[in-house]
């Protein structure tokens, strides 16, 4: 959850910072873009100083996370989120130019599974924990044509 919240924070920065966004949350991944696909790297090329991060637009952030905040809550959150971003700004200053970029952590041996089906025994308790269940379906507020 922490990662997700953080990403939401970063993407909620004003549009001008889109380029910074990617290089901010993971410098290694931005490097690997360049290594693996030059045409993609083009749009991620970052010439901004990563330590200068824009303060978040908390209202937009709240909307992205589908939560409603009161004006006073927005103010309260704003300060906390700025702290987190500042911390990332510090990380961003670490010189990693001599480190070989990795797409993912490497793992020993096979990490795939056979395509053999196995039914999960305790399905009833999963269904029982769903707050709104309508015979066989999950019941949710009408969401037609909403994004």
């Amino acid at each position: 959850m922490a990662t997700r919240a953080l990403l939401a924070v970063l993407s909620a920065s004003p549009p001008r910072m889109i380029q910074t966004k990617v290089s901010t949350f993971s410098s290694s991944s931005s490097l690997s873009f360049q290594r693996h696909s030059r045409r993609i790297a083009r749009c991620f090329s970052s010439d901004t100083n990563p330590s200068v991060l824009q303060p978040p637009d908390v209202s937009r952030l709240a909307e992205t996370a589908r939560i409603s905040l009161t004006p006073s809550e927005i103010e309260e959150c704003g300060a906390k989120i700025r702290q987190v971003i500042h911390w990332f700004g510090q990380l961003q200053q670490v010189d990693v130019s001599c480190v070989e970029p990795a797409i993912r952590a490497e793992m020993e041996g096979g990490n795939l599974r056979e395509d053999a089906p196995e039914t999960f025994e305790n399905r009833d308790s999963i269904r029982a924990s769903i707050p709104s269940f309508d015979e066989v379906y999950l019941k949710v507020p009408k969401v037609l044509n909403k994004e």
């Binding site: 990662t3 997700r4 990403l7 939401a8 970063l10 993407s11 949350f25 993971s26 991944s29 690997s32 873009f33 693996h36 696909s37 045409r39 993609i40 083009r42 749009c43 992205t64 589908r66 797409i103 993912r104 952590a105 490497e106 793992m107 990490n111 795939l112 599974r113 056979e114 395509d115 053999a116 089906p117 196995e118 039914t119 999960f120 399905r123 999963i126 269904r127 309508d134 066989v136 379906y137 999950l138 019941k139 949710v140 507020p141 009408k142 969401v143 037609l144 044509n145 909403k146 994004e147």
Partner: protein, 547 residues
């Protein structure tokens, strides 16, 4: 799904465009119908492209003199694996709702995804079949969005390093739409998981969710914006369906949603370098609908251009309304959706070895394009070729028949006429019929060497299709061997003539049409076994002979 990525790649096309326009200017003497391929240089076709005919619609042809449509397609293929992509829940269509679920696909805390090897296998297969380059190291990413059909709040997909990219596919445009061969670029193929199914009740203020499909493996195929008409797009879609069926990676069934195509389309005045505003069309559950939806959309956008209202073409998702035969606004997009992609921390990278890739390459079946070219080289016409290669089981059947030494053209004719009609009437597929390829070859040979007549052949064909058995057995059992002995045929002719003095007189006084009556009588007497050519030859001699 990969609109974001398409966007980022677009600038490349603008640079290519300059040279293409230059070429176009130098070919102004040729018809303006010839559209110069200007996107994806690697896919440039060697043949000149003429604009395909579109349902004989003059209106559309007129529009296409002034405007060029640019069409790209995203195809989602649901894989026929036994399990979901990242958990062992059974992947079955049509189960009781919300029964194929577990903590992984329900996104419960602490559950960890493990990728099925079959998904990788299918991804490599499809990537190779589409002439793509493979990433020996690829990875998964999380695509975040909130929607009730997505329990985790994100979809596991591949963002910047897909398993395959940079390929192409070759298709033949059917003759009735102008014919010709086209090559369309494939931008990428990536692995991802499906979302659940949402049902919107007409009454009530709620929606229902079935999560059996959540986590089912998909391959998404993104095309280059290389198509220029509804026909080309529909042919591209059909070829994707053929390829996934030939490969056995999916049943490709559009009604069940195993193959879903989303179309991106814009038009621009011919000669304009800049792309027009792109509109996405969804809800296309048949290739014919796809073709009609695109033609409708081209007409709609051209009309707005012509009325000076090009600014009313906005970035939006439109739905194809089959009843009204038009596209309608589903939702307008306010800016690009922000999916906040980041690498999936719960899954390791996907590593392929060269040996693994080579072994899959070696195991690939003959693909539709190779089959079509082989059939063409055997001397079959393009219509026969397209029919036979369209359905993998028909193609395999045909290959077995000619493998037994049957005449190629005869085998094609039997399959395309009588057998196809039988299958249609009985609502069967070729794999359901009792007639083995071996026996169809026997039947063709028996007619060719005149053991039986073509007419008798047809009669026993239907019996063989329904009940099985052997041609030789049936010929013996029913005493069907063709009569080719002239003396025997002559005997029968003389008997018929002597029994019909009235008709003979009428014939000799000028009603020569009565020859048919005599031929019918003789054929009846021979129980259909007389060789028709021989019969007619001798009959004429006898009828015209002066006494």
């Amino acid at each position: 799904m990969s609109t974001t990525l398409l966007r980022t790649i677009q600038p490349n096309h603008f640079t290519l465009l300059g040279t293409a326009l230059f070429r176009r200017n130098r070919t102004t003497t040729t018809s303006r119908h010839i559209s110069v391929r200007c996107l994806g240089s690697q896919t440039a076709s060697s043949q000149p492209r003429t604009a395909p005919k579109n349902h004989g619609s003059n209106k559309l042809d007129e529009i296409l003199r002034d405007y060029e449509a640019v069409i790209g397609i995203e195809t989602h293929v649901q894989l026929s694996t036994s399990t979901k992509a990242f958990c062992t829940c059974p992947n079955t269509y049509g189960s009781k709702p919300n029964t194929s679920i577990c903590p992984v696909c329900m996104g419960l805390p602490g559950a960890l995804p493990v990728l099925s090897s079959k998904v990788v296998d299918f991804g490599v297969r499809l990537g190779l079949a589409l002439n793509c380059g493979l990433s020996l190291k690829s990875k998964f990413d999380r695509k975040q969005y909130f929607y009730p059909d997505l329990p985790k709040g994100y979809q596991i997909s591949q963002f910047d390093v897909p398993i395959a990219s940079g390929g192409y596919v070759d298709v033949d445009i059917p003759l009735e739409f102008g014919g010709g061969h086209r090559r369309f670029g494939i931008t990428r193929v990536h692995m991802e998981e499906d979302a659940g199914k949402l049902l919107h009740s007409d009454t009530g203020d709620y929606s229902q969710v079935d999560l059996n499909r959540a986590g089912v493996p998909l391959l998404e195929i993104v095309s280059e914006p290389d198509m220029r008409s509804g026909i080309e797009a529909a042919e591209y879609g059909s070829e994707m369906q053929r390829i996934v069926r030939y490969l056995g990676v999916s049943n490709g069934n559009m009604q069940e949603g195993s193959l879903r195509c989303d179309v991106n389309i814009s038009i621009r005045p011919i000669g304009q370098a800049q792309f027009g505003t792109k509109v996405e069309i969804k809800n296309l559950n048949a290739f014919s609908a796809m073709s009609r939806a695109i033609d409708y959309e081209i007409t709609r956008q051209a009309l707005l251009y012509n009325q000076g209202q090009a600014d009313q073409i906005v970035t939006e998702t439109r739905l194809w309304d089959e009843g009204a035969q038009k596209t309608v606004t589903m939702r307008k997009k306010e800016g690009l959706a922000d999916y906040r992609y980041f690498p999936e921390p719960d899954l390791p990278e996907v590593i392929l070895t060269q040996e693994y890739v080579d072994s899959i390459r070696a195991s690939l079946p003959e693909l539709p394009e190779a089959k079509r070219r082989r059939y063409e080289a055997m001397g079959l016409g393009i219509q026969d070729v397209l029919f036979l290669a369209n359905d993998v089981s028909v193609a395999e059947y045909f290959d077995q028949v000619i493998g037994k030494g049957a005449d190629v053209k005869s085998a094609a004719n039997w399959l395309m006429s009588d057998i196809a009609a039988y299958l249609k009437n009985e609502e069967l597929s070729i794999s359901d019929v009792k007639l083995t390829p071996q026996e169809l070859a026997e039947l063709i040979a028996a007619i060719k060497d005149e053991t039986i007549s073509g007419k008798i052949g047809k009669q026993i064909l239907f019996e063989l299709l329904a009940k099985g058995g052997t041609v030789q057995g049936m010929i013996k059992e029913k005493d069907l061997v063709q009569i080719t002995d002239p003396v025997e045929i002559e005997k029968m002719i003389m008997k018929v003539i002597s029994e019909s003095p009235k008709q003979l007189e009428q014939y000799r006084s000028g009603r020569t049409k009565l020859q048919g009556f005599f031929a019918g009588q003789v054929m009846k007497m021979s129980k259909g076994k007389a060789n028709p050519a021989l019969l007619n030859k001798i009959l004429l001699e006898k009828l015209d002979a002066k006494e």
